[in-house]
């Protein structure tokens, strides 16, 4: 049978949703509240973000969270009544997500 393309986008959406559910609460607390309270030394941060494995995990997180966003964003706008713009919204969402991923690669894998 001919498959819809949705399984591709949905599996990326799901992987991003799972990673976000597991990692974002603690990351937001750390970088949003603990860092501004001067609780983490610069040299330690430098060590963390220089580690190749951590950079790879952060890249996977960024890529999948952007794909998760694109899927929810395009569906939500349609649910809110922009059905006639379905295709341009989808294209735009994934172009933005891929651009974000490219930038993440530049920062983390460069």
């Amino acid at each position: 049978m001919r498959y819809s393309n949705e399984p591709l986008f949905w599996s990326l959406f799901s992987a991003g949703g799972m990673l976000a559910a597991l990692l974002l609460p603690v990351l937001i607390v750390l970088t949003g509240f603990v860092l501004p309270a001067d609780e983490i030394a610069f040299s330690h941060l430098q060590d963390i973000f220089s580690n190749a494995l951590i950079r790879l995990v952060l890249f996977a997180l960024a890529f999948l969270v952007f794909m998760h966003w694109a899927n929810r964003f395009r569906h939500t706008l349609v649910d809110m009544g922009l059905k006639s713009l379905h295709t341009p919204i989808s294209v735009l969402s994934y172009v933005v997500a891929i651009a974000g991923t490219a930038w993440a690669a530049l920062v983390l894998l460069g």
């Binding site: 049978m1 001919r2 498959y3 949905w10 599996s11 009544g81 059905k83």
Partner: protein, 247 residues
């Protein structure tokens, strides 16, 4: 306890009305009355032109679904006492065209229902009564039993915002029933249902709002059935990409 309670009923007569209106009626308040009892009282004693569907009065037939104060309910299970002091606003199920008063047009639902072939399909046509029954273990029955409880009342369609704006969407009950047959060990028709179920306007229109499962009077959980089908469809999609793994 009040003596009476007010019902605001959605009225639409296709030959006389350009648009619907609401009409208020006062009915006796009885502790053990449901909205359907109040409607039957009005039709019998006050206004015989009132039009609505009902049959069993006990949550089995699935005919008496309506919007009660904006929420899809079987009116045979909606007690007046839960809506005190009133008024109670009764409307036809949302998402469907209105034939007259509380009666909605079922054509779209019926067409979608038959499109997923909700019956047991066998590959070999030659099987006859003489070849005996299809045996099933209790575990095989348990795999789909929950989805077989559907009474086609369409409350889930009225609760589904996706169906309201995307009329092509196959919708919760029909997708749950497709899953019911796809999970049945006696059935061999999955590949005939996939083109409808796995299509863009099948499971992929669903954004998992989840209200279909919340309003279901039979705890069928169509939202869960659709998410499971999404996983199965994704597995099928991934396999179809493999050079040798094509099923």
């Amino acid at each position: 306890m009040p003596d009476t309670i007010t019902l605001e009923l959605f009225r639409y007569h296709p030959d006389r009305d350009e648009r619907p209106r609401f009409q208020a009626y006062e009915v006796p308040f009885r502790e053990d009355w449901v909205v359907l009892d109040a409607l039957n009282y009005l039709k019998d004693r006050v206004d015989g032109s009132l039009t609505y569907r009902w049959s069993c009065r006990m949550g089995v037939c699935g005919s008496c679904g309506m919007m009660v104060n904006g929420y899809p309910k079987l009116t045979c299970a909606a007690f007046l006492r839960d809506y005190l002091p009133g008024p109670i606003r009764v409307e036809p199920l949302s998402g469907f065209p209105v034939e007259r008063d509380m009666v909605v047009v079922l054509d779209d639902f019926m067409q979608k229902l038959s499109s997923v072939k909700p019956w047991i399909i066998r590959e070999t046509a030659a099987e006859t009564m003489a070849s005996g029954e299809y045996r099933q273990t209790p575990a095989q029955l348990a795999a789909f039993k929950q989805y077989s409880m559907c009474i086609n009342c369409m409350l889930c369609y009225a609760a589904c915002p996706v169906y309201q704006h995307e009329e092509q969407f196959v919708g919760p009950a029909v997708l749950a029933l497709a899953q019911r047959y796809n999970l049945d060990s006696r059935d061999q028709g999955n590949s005939q249902r996939y083109p409808v179920v796995w299509a863009d306007d099948g499971i992929w229109d669903c954004t998992f709002v989840g209200e279909c499962s919340a309003v279901c009077p039979k705890h069928v959980d169509p939202a869960g059935a659709i998410q499971q089908a999404k996983i199965q469809s994704t597995v099928g999609f991934m396999r179809s990409l493999l050079p040798f793994g094509n099923r």
